[in-house]
Amino acid sequence: MAPRLLRLIDALSRRSRALRTLRDLTATAKQRLGLHSNRALLAWGWRYALSLVRAGADPLPGEAPTAELATVYGPAEPVPPPIKLLIAVAGERVDLLRPLLVDWIHRLPADQVRLGLLIDSARLAGPAALELQGLAALWRRPLELVLLSGVLPLRGQLPAAAAALRGPQQRLWLVEGLPAREVEGLPAREPADLLATLQGPAQRQGALPGLDAAGQALFLDPVRLGLAPEPPARLASPWALAGPRLGPWAPLLDAGRRGLMALGHQLHRLGWLPAPARLTLQRRWQLPAGGEWITGTVCDPDQRILALRDPASGENLWPRCQQWPLPPAGPALLAAPSGPLRGWGLCTEAILATDGLWLETVASPPRWLPLRGCPAAPRRAAAEELLGELPLSDPRLPAWLDGGLGMALRRFPPEPVSPAVDRRQYGPPPPAPGVSLIIPLYGRWDFMQHQLALFADDPALDGAELIYVIDDPALEAVIAEQAPAWQALFGRSFLTLSRGCNQGYAAANNLGAAQARAPRLLLLNSDVMPAAPGWLAPLLAALDTPHTAAVGARLLYEDDTVQHNGMVARPCIDWGGLLLNHHPGKGLPERLLPAPAVREVPLLTGACLLLRRADYLAVGGLDERFLIGDFEDSLLCQRLQAGGGVLRLCEGVRLYHLERQSMGSAGSAERRARFTLYNAWLAGQLATEPLGAAA
């Protein structure tokens, strides 16, 4: 075997430039080994895999599987327990995770054993994180999630993997994804016996050379147990023989596949098979502020790209490109041989005077990448495209955004709006208003009519200025037509403002605030209706108490359940702990809340928020950098708090909030969720940046 392997490696290394894909490797290996069928090749690969296992030596020098992610959910232990038991789940049977974990949870005490899940599939990471977080909350014990990346953990590599996964002073057990009763080598069925077995002397399945006394591992062959990952569809054809008609041979061929994978890794690691650089150019956009934005994907683990050259200027643009990791498209084991895929982006000050770029790489002739068109870049389209690559649930999402994707998106400023404002005053303006109500309108004009009907006989509105900001050109005509009649009928004067476009929630409020004449502002959504007259006075009184920066009210759904009673920032497990705005008690009947009082709260919603105009302007108003609209209110609250103010909630003041639901299709709901993801990340970034930082 050994001389033959060396001959093969020698041959492959000389032909390495031709080897771009696993398919090339397969073809070359077949040719060099004198094999005529895939079946023979797989058998060869299998023998190779067996030799790796038998040799016991580290088959991939320097390549230990690394824990890409290791997170503990649930309460922290005062002292780490002496044993860590990780259940290795190689497949993607999400449905089995919960019963499996519960079975082990019931058998092993938390103070003795830290339980966890060891997965090698990135696609399992999101669902697994959610499961562990929920189970940790239900059982009130810590549960760990380890995502192994790099290479497939063959038996020979387990010692290295174990060393990386084991905490200090901990014994580590790795078990295959089975309930405790069915794991071979664990005779014990009762929890106490099981614990004694784990604490006792080493009892192992198979030979695991290289483990020290503390790092025992129990490992069962996932192939034999039928839990190995399915080959991904896009590799199906070269391995077509390993289909169901092979019956009992399928596991052997699967092992053969693994052998070939390992061979590929081996060649890379020995440096005999440099990974080819791959770079694609996907999109070119014209930036609103001038210049352009070019994006694409790149895979260049061995840094073979030398230059991305503009033929017009001769400049190498590659050093100026930003890069960010992209989620792997398939199971991690396939991503490894050629390296991870990354996104790249280039932002120029002026539009490039060329219709293509030269890609220069080591030992290859330069390649021409044509650049076609340069449409104006709407920020939303760019965001849709760049964020569209992301899964909707993955604990690594913040890392990907931090890694450059988020910063790339921040390059796109909000769409510029027309400075011309259409300003219409209906009825005489109040001479010296005490408070200005700023109410943006979008989608529905009838809310304005409902509000005016309720404001008509409410003396609280007597000294107030009403400003409706029409943020939807489709509403302008109907409002202009109805407004005089509403003014006459309801006896309330109001001002409408419009820029003739949809500029977004934040910009609409900022426009209203800029035109407001009162020293205090009440930001109000158009679908918020006071429960009874007299609601404004207590809010104004509360704003006058010492140190108060802003005041909110209790908002209810139409069935008297809570919509808003103060807000907190809560980590979102689907999104790796990014903070989302959470409304405690949302959906509960109001009578389950404590007796109404004026309370200090961490955050308030912008649906009904009273504050001083000077404070609002001092912090720059609502931040216009979010996509569509999210988090402007919580960020405003944080900025007010940074200035020393506190937020108060008047629970005795009740308004109804008919919080509109998204009526879009599933596709647009997903897009909206990705926008919220970016906004959540952006809110975290902006909260730590000094005010007035460049947009």
């Binding site: 449905d95 089995l96 919960r98 019963p99 499996l100 519960v102 079975d103 019931h106 959610l130 499961e131 977080q133 929920g134 189970l135 909350a137 239900l138 059982w139 009130r140 089975l178 309930p179 009763r181 069915e182 759904y557 069935d559 008297d560 359940t561 919509q563 497990i573 959470h582 409304h583 405690p584 008690g585 949302k586 959906g587 509960l588 009947p589 389950l592 809340l593 919080e659 639901q661 998204s662």
Partner: protein, 415 residues
Amino acid sequence: MSTAAVKRVLIVAHGHPRFSKGGAELAALQMFEAFEREPGWEPWLLARHAEPGLVRPGAMLRELAERQLLLTADTDPFLFAARRLQTLTDDVADLLQRLQPAVVHFHHYVNVGIEMIRAVRTHAPRARIALTLHEFLAICHQSGQMLKTSGELCQRASPAECHACLPGRPPGDYYLRQRYIRSFFDLVDVFIAPSAFLRGRYLDWGLPAEKVQVIENGQPPRHAELPPPACPPRRFAYFGQITPFKGLELLSEAWRLLPAAWRREQGLSLAIHGDGHQRFGSAFAERIERAFAAAGEGFHHAGAYEPEGLAGRLREADAVVVPSTWWENSPLVIQEAYAHGRPVICADIGGMAEKVRDGIDGLHFSARSAESLAATLRRAVDRPGLWAQLVAGVQPPPGIAQTLAQCRAAYGLAE
């Protein structure tokens, strides 16, 4: 009344009758309404719903009527595991902490999430947890009927047999399923089974005998007073949905086996009240239509009825037939028949055989045998004095008030 003196009972159901009219949903609402009339108790209903238009972003609860909450939730059909565990660990946990109920009475865990039992244990640690078992769902993945896909009656569940019955999953999955469900059932203080038969099946499955009590799902009082049935009986009737497990083919075959001349001479009729066979595929619907057409004179399909119309239809019946080919737990139709003084002829298995006492308030026939059913129908008509004796033997079923009193005793609270 001060809140300290009031005991809160939270009744959990997998649906609200205003959206889905199942037996368990109705039982949960009836229990809620009965508790409303009990001094010293404040009932809350938590019913799961699946109306997409009622879902609000970020809010998993809403209120349908006073203290009747709707919960947005869904479970997988195998483990009854909540698809979104965070609803239970966040929203329901919050509700439980605020309510601090003295009792949480589950009328089902399907669709709600079986993990809610643990959430109750954690967030309302003083609450007594009761669970009404409405069928064999925890034991049997085959619609909880313990009726094998081959059509045979099933006696017990085991990973190997369940795998053989439903081969899509390896036996290990069924082992995991049982362990998983049992891990939550271990937290329940008292199980309530509407029949001793159902209780027996759950004891075989491993529930401790001292925890499972037999309490009938009593019904609210009925107002209709019907004239007594004719003796011997002339008018037989079936009430209920037409499903593959209800034995309608068997019943029409038995009717066909009775000599036509004798049926005519005695002036006999058999009315089928109910429908729903279209929902089980066209093959089954056609079989039913053929069987009905072949049954012969005196047999007719009277169609569907509303629950309120049942008494009116019972007026036109002297005997109620329950020919089911599966076990049945505690069929509501038997309670209805007895409430109106009608004896019942049923198969000699499971919950129906327990509720109908052979020779006292009804007659048993050998389950799944058309010949035995035909002979039993004939005996009911021909044996002098038999039917009058059975009519005299019928006792009114327990009402909801009795059920409530028994449940309250079962909760084991110091009252």
